[in-house]
C-alpha cells in the first residue's frame, strides 16, 4: 500500500492503517513532513461550530475534536484545551450571545457556557469593564503541531510503515481498473492500494490515476507571530464582532487571536485565493491587515495589558489551504479505480479532524480489503528530553552525563547542542536549518536565529558530513552561505 502525502492526514492515516498487516510506504515530496499545509496553519483543534452542519467537514471535525486528548496522550505531544471565548462589548452584542450558544448546540458541540463577568474573570482576567458577558466553547484546543507530525511519523515507523521523504509521485499505473504501481522521482513501487492524501496536489494524483473529479484551488493564509513576552490572552479570543464575521464568511473563518502551546500569540490566518499552489509568500498588506484587525480589539478589551506592538512581531508565515469548489472534505474510495482512496479537499479544520479522518480511511480499507489485524501495533510513542523543560537539578545531571547538553546553542529558547545533534540524526532526521528549528525551536525565539544560526550551520555540516556552504535553510538550493570568504 502507498500513502501519498506526509502531512498530518497522510501520517495519521499511515499510522492508523499500521494496525493492519499491510506493507505501507508513505511518500512525501518535501525533505520533511508537513511542509505544505500542516505546519503553515494555526495549530488549532477547532470546535465543530464553524464547519457547515451536516457536511463531511463538520462530521470529521465533530468526531475528531474529542479524540485529541487520547491521541496527544498516546503520542506524548503538547496539547491543551484552552477554549474559545466569545465576548460581548455592549448590550446589543450581549443579545447575540444566546445565538452563539444555540449555534454551538446545533453543531453538537458539548456544553457551551454562557458566562457572567465573574465567570469571564476566571477564564480571561483583565477584561475591560464594559465586557459583562461571554460564551466559552471549552473544547477548542491547541497542539504543538510539528512535534505532532514527528510523533505520528515516529509511531508509524515503529509500527512498520516506511516513510520516504524527498520522493514526489509523478505517475500512477493502473491495470484492469485497479491500482498497479506508483511512479516516483526515485523509482516505481508496486501497490494494490493507493491513499491519495496529497493535499494541494490531490487533484493531480487523481488525474494520474484516471479519476479526476475535483479541482483543488489554493487559498492562502498569512499569520503573524508575537514574541513570548506578549501574552495578553489565555483563550482563543473572539469578540462577538469577529465571531459574527466568521459565521458570515463564505469560505473560511478568516483568522483569529490564538495562543500557541509554546507561549507565543498569533494573529491569523488570512484567506486569499491565489493561483499558484506554491505561493507561500508573506506580504506587508497581509501583516498590516492582521495587525490592524486584531490589535485594536486587544487594546480595547484588555486595557490593563501591554499595548499591542508591531515591534513584538517576530515572524510571519503563509500556507495554502487545499480547497475544492464544494468546500467539503472528500474521503471515499474511487468509483472508477479499484484500490484508490481519495482523502482530498482537507482544509481547515483538517488538523482537528485528522484522527477521525484516519479512522474513516481505516474503515474503508477494512470493508474493501478485509486485512488481518497487526497484533504488534503499539500506539504509544515517547518524546525525547527537552533541556529547557527540566529543572536545574535535572539539567545538571544531564550535563554531567552528556556534556553536549551543557553547550547552549539557542539562547532565546535554551536549546542545547545535544538536541540539535539528535534532530539531525533521528529516524525522521532534519535535513535543513528549518528542520532543526521545527524540531528543537532553535531559531524560533526573539532573535529568530540571529545568534544560533551560525552554530547550527556548523553542527549540521559536521553531522551531515557536508560542507557548510551546502547546508540549506529549507530545501533545494536555499543555501545559507554563498561561498567561502576566508
Amino acid at each position: 500500500m502507498v500513502v501519498i502525502g506526509g502531512g498530518v492526514i497522510g501520517l495519521s492515516v499511515a499510522r492508523e492503517l499500521s494496525q493492519f498487516n499491510l506493507s505501507i510506504a508513505l511518500f512525501e515530496r518535501h525533505n520533511d513532513v508537513g511542509m505544505d499545509q500542516t505546519t503553515r496553519g494555526n495549530a488549532m483543534i477547532h470546535p465543530a461550530i464553524q464547519a457547515k452542519y451536516g457536511t463531511l467537514r463538520w462530521e470529521m471535525n465533530y468526531k475528531g475534536n474529542p479524540m485529541w486528548d487520547e491521541t496527544a496522550r498516546q503520542l506524548d505531544v503538547d496539547f491543551k484545551r484552552i477554549g474559545t471565548l466569545v465576548v460581548a462589548e455592549n448590550s446589543e452584542e450581549e443579545a447575540l450571545l444566546p445565538y452563539a450558544v444555540d449555534t454551538a448546540i446545533k453543531h453538537n458541540d458539548p456544553e457551551p457556557k454562557l458566562l457572567d463577568r465573574e465567570g469571564l474573570d476566571r477564564i480571561e482576567p483583565g477584561l475591560a469593564p464594559n465586557v459583562r458577558k461571554g460564551v466559552l466553547v471549552w473544547n477548542t484546543g491547541i497542539v504543538a503541531v510539528f512535534e505532532l507530525l514527528i510523533a505520528y511519523a515516529e509511531n508509524a515507523l515503529s509500527n512498520g510503515v516506511s516513510i520516504f521523504l524527498d520522493t514526489g509521485v509523478i505517475g500512477v499505473q493502473t491495470e484492469d481498473s485497479g491500482i498497479k504501481a506508483v511512479d516516483t522521482t526515485r523509482g516505481t513501487v508496486k501497490a494494490g492500494i493507493l491513499i491519495n492524501a496529497a493535499g494541494l496536489y490531490a487533484d493531480k494524483i487523481a488525474e494520474y490515476a484516471g479519476d479526476r473529479f475535483f479541482t483543488i484551488h489554493p487559498r492562502k493564509g498569512e499569520t503573524i507571530i508575537f514574541d513570548k513576552s506578549y501574552q495578553p490572552v489565555r483563550t482563543v479570543f473572539a469578540p462577538v464582532s469577529v465571531a459574527a464575521e466568521s459565521q458570515e464568511s463564505k469560505y473560511t473563518k478568516g483568522g483569529g487571536i490564538i495562543p500557541t502551546t509554546d507561549g507565543n500569540l498569533q494573529f491569523g490566518p488570512t484567506a486569499i485565493e491565489v493561483c499558484n499552489k506554491e505561493d507561500v509568500s508573506t506580504t506587508a498588506e497581509g501583516c498590516d491587515y492582521l495587525f490592524d484587525r486584531f490589535a485594536p480589539l486587544l487594546e480595547r478589551l484588555k486595557p490593563d495589558y501591554e499595548k499591542p506592538d508591531r515591534g513584538k512581531i517576530i515572524a510571519r508565515f503563509a500556507g495554502c489551504r487545499a480547497a475544492t469548489y464544494k468546500e467539503d472534505f472528500i474521503i471515499e474510495p474511487s468509483k472508477k479505480v479499484r484500490g484508490l482512496v481519495h482523502v482530498a479537499g482537507i482544509q481547515s479544520p483538517g488538523l482537528a479532524s485528522a484522527p477521525a479522518i484516519a479512522e474513516r480511511v481505516k474503515e474503508i480499507i477494512r470493508e474493501e480489503r478485509h486485512p488481518s489485524v497487526n497484533d504488534k501495533f503499539n500506539p504509544v510513542r515517547k518524546r525525547q528530553v527537552r533541556f529547557s523543560e527540566l529543572n536545574l537539578k535535572e539539567q545538571d545531571e544531564l550535563v554531567r552525563a552528556n556534556p553536549r547538553y551543557g553547550h547552549i546553542v539557542c539562547r532565546c529558547e535554551n536549546v542545547s547542542e545535544e538536541e540539535v545533534v539528535r534532530a539531525l540524526n533521528d529516524k525522521i532526521a532534519a535535513r535543513s536549518l528549518d528542520g532543526v528549528k521545527r524540531r528543537t525551536r532553535a531559531g524560533q525565539g526573539r532573535c529568530q536565529g540571529g545568534f544560533c544560526m551560525p552554530r547550527v550551520v556548523e553542527i549540521a555540516s559536521r553531522e551531515m558530513n557536508i560542507g557548510k556552504e551546502h547546508v540549506v535553510k529549507s530545501e533545494g538550493k536555499s543555501y545559507v552561505l554563498s561561498r567561502r570568504t576566508k
Binding site: 512498520g160 479541482t215 493561483c275 535535513r431
Partner: protein, 95 residues
C-alpha cells in the same frame, strides 16, 4: 429531477450572468466540468464557486484558463537523502 444537460445549461447561465463571460459546462455523474477562457483568475474562481453551489453538483473540475495561469510541472529529481524506515527501497522495481 433535472437532466445533466439542463443542469449544465443552468450553471452556464449563472456563470455568464455573474462574470459576463462564456464558458463551456458539462455534467456527468454529478461532476461539473468547466472549460474555456476567462479574463481573470477571479472570474475563473467565481465560475468554480458558482458551479459548486448547486446542490446536484457533487464536485467541480475547473479547467478554465485565464491570463497568467500557472501550469503544474513536477520537477524530476533524485535525492541524496536516505529513506527513513525499513529496507523496503531494495524491493522497489526501478523504472
Amino acid at each position: 429531477m433535472r437532466s445533466d444537460r439542463a443542469l449544465a445549461r443552468e450553471i452556464q447561465g449563472e456563470i455568464e450572468k455573474t462574470t459576463g463571460e462564456q464558458v463551456a459546462v458539462s455534467m456527468r455523474d454529478g461532476i461539473a466540468g468547466l472549460r474555456g477562457r476567462l479574463s481573470s483568475h477571479e472570474a475563473a474562481l467565481e465560475a468554480g464557486h458558482l458551479a459548486g453551489r448547486f446542490d446536484m453538483v457533487r464536485e467541480v473540475v475547473n479547467d478554465i484558463v485565464f491570463p497568467g495561469k500557472m501550469r503544474f510541472k513536477y520537477l524530476r529529481k533524485v535525492s541524496r537523502n536516505s529513506p527513513a524506515g525499513s529496507s523496503m527501497w531494495s524491493s522497489l522495481v526501478v523504472a
